[in-house]
């Protein structure tokens, strides 16, 4: 689980990008963020890398699950 809560743009996406590169395109990744803008940015990046994204919201925090 990548914890990107509270990070400024575009650091959450950089964290996901690093995890994708280091994990050699892992089939599943989970990311936690606390702003809708991060959900949008990570979703766009994930889609460009061929992942499908599902999002769960709880108390203003979002857990994104990236799968391919």
């Amino acid at each position: 689980m990548i914890d990107a809560r509270g990070q400024s743009c575009p650091i959450p996406v950089v964290m996901v990008q690093d995890a994708v590169k280091k994990g050699n395109n892992p089939s599943e990744l989970q990311v936690k963020v606390d702003a809708m803008v991060c959900v949008e940015n990570i979703s766009r990046y994930a889609a460009s890398q061929g992942y499908t994204v599902s999002t769960e919201e709880s108390d203003g925090e979002y857990t994104l699950t990236l799968k391919k």
Binding site: G6, S8, P10, Q17, S48
Partner: protein, 366 residues
């Protein structure tokens, strides 16, 4: 182009461009329908934080942008009071972004508006802005972070919107408290109520779309994501078309451009400083206003840093002087030695901040 371009970003870019042309037609200075740096600088002057007589006016546009974002984020339940991500560092970054922008004579948004007005000096600024973004991106890839924010009490989130509402009410009710330019850019302004309403709409749309001048190029370079860059392009095209339609466009040139200088080295370096600093902050000056409107206390501190940076820029003659015709002689403006020194000091400060906050460089060092 990416398939993932949000039409709201494009529409916002078009609206910003149209609003900029309209506000200039209604009285704002040429190629300055919107300029976050210039308008915060004018507000600093109107509050007597600096005494440069030509640039003193309480710009309602800044109030409208912040409040538009507050209203939109409250209605979409995105308003969240957050703070705690290196506020003092952000204050310093805000001040140097402002100094870099005023050396160039405009924030990244005015840079695009000047480009659409045919000002080739702004294209040199664009090259510098891109170079600054590349430096910032290098450090982001090395793990740069100002650490995370945390949820704070709601009043923190309303601090900056509240200050600006209070000042705006005082501006309307007791204008004698403020000082206003009698000549120069500060004396040129659209009617206050119209400026406020236009900026409220733009602020709301900018919140919704996440429009950011630095984010466009940064995301294109880092992720091949052209979403925000489409807004940047839309502003340029709309302003260009608007200027042509209103007969304000006289071709592209570096000469006799309104509130602009042709000391190109300093156009380049000023915007490089603004670009690098904005990447470290996570967004351009416009975006900082919008984030402050959404309840982000760190962006509120950044805006206050910009206000103080603007005061320093004029109290210590750091800002650029526009090219001008004096007694029939065309004089190239530019940057005083104090301004040149401030830009160099700014680069050193940004380098220290960049190195000190890079997690990967620290790990490599260990």
């Amino acid at each position: 182009m990416s398939k993932h371009i949000n039409p709201v970003v494009l529409i916002t870019g078009i609206l910003v461009g149209a609003a900029a042309v309209m506000l200039t037609a209604l009285g704002n200075p040429p190629n300055m329908g919107f300029c976050i740096a210039c308008f915060i600088r004018d507000i600093a002057g109107s509050l007597k934080l600096h005494t440069a007589e030509p640039v003193q006016y309480f710009r309602p546009e800044i109030v409208g942008l912040i409040l538009g974002s507050t209203i939109m984020s409250l209605s979409s339940k995105e308003f969240r009071a957050k703070a705690g991500s290196s506020p003092a560092t952000r204050f310093i970054l805000g001040a140097f972004v402002m100094i870099g922008a005023l050396v160039f004579l405009g924030c990244p948004l005015r840079m695009v508006i000047r480009m659409g007005g045919g000002d080739l000096n702004a294209f040199v600024g664009l090259a510098g802005f891109f170079a600054g973004i590349l430096i910032g991106v290098f450090f982001l890839k090395k793990g740069f972070t100002l650490k995370r924010t945390y949820e704070v009490t709601k009043t923190e989130g309303f601090a900056l919107p509240g200050i600006f509402v209070l000042l705006f009410v005082l501006f309307l009710a007791v204008p004698a408290l403020f000082v206003f330019s009698e000549s120069g850019p500060g004396s040129k302004h659209a009617p206050a109520v119209i400026a406020l309403i236009v900026a409220l709409v733009i602020g709301a749309m900018a919140q919704k779309s996440r429009l950011c001048m630095v984010g466009g190029m940064r995301d294109a370079v880092m992720f091949k994501d052209f979403n925000l860059l489409s807004g940047f392009a839309a502003i340029f095209v709309t302003v260009l078309i608007g200027n042509i339609a209103l007969g304000n466009f006289a071709g592209f040139s570096t000469v006799s451009q309104p509130i602009s200088h042709s000391s190109e080295l300093w156009n380049f370096l000023g915007m490089a400083l603004a670009g690098w600093g904005s990447v470290l902050l996570g967004g351009c000056p416009l975006r900082q206003l919008i984030l402050a409107g959404e309840g982000n206390g760190d962006s509120a501190v950044t805006v206050l840093g910009m206000l103080v940076g603007a005061a320093f820029a004029h109290n210590f003659k750091l800002a650029g002087s526009a090219d001008a015709v004096n007694d029939g002689v065309y004089t190239v403006g530019g940057i005083a030695p104090t301004g040149q020194a401030a830009v160099i000091i700014g680069f050193v400060v940004l380098l220290i901040i960049s190195l000190a906050n890079c997690t990967m460089l620290k790990k490599e060092g260990n």
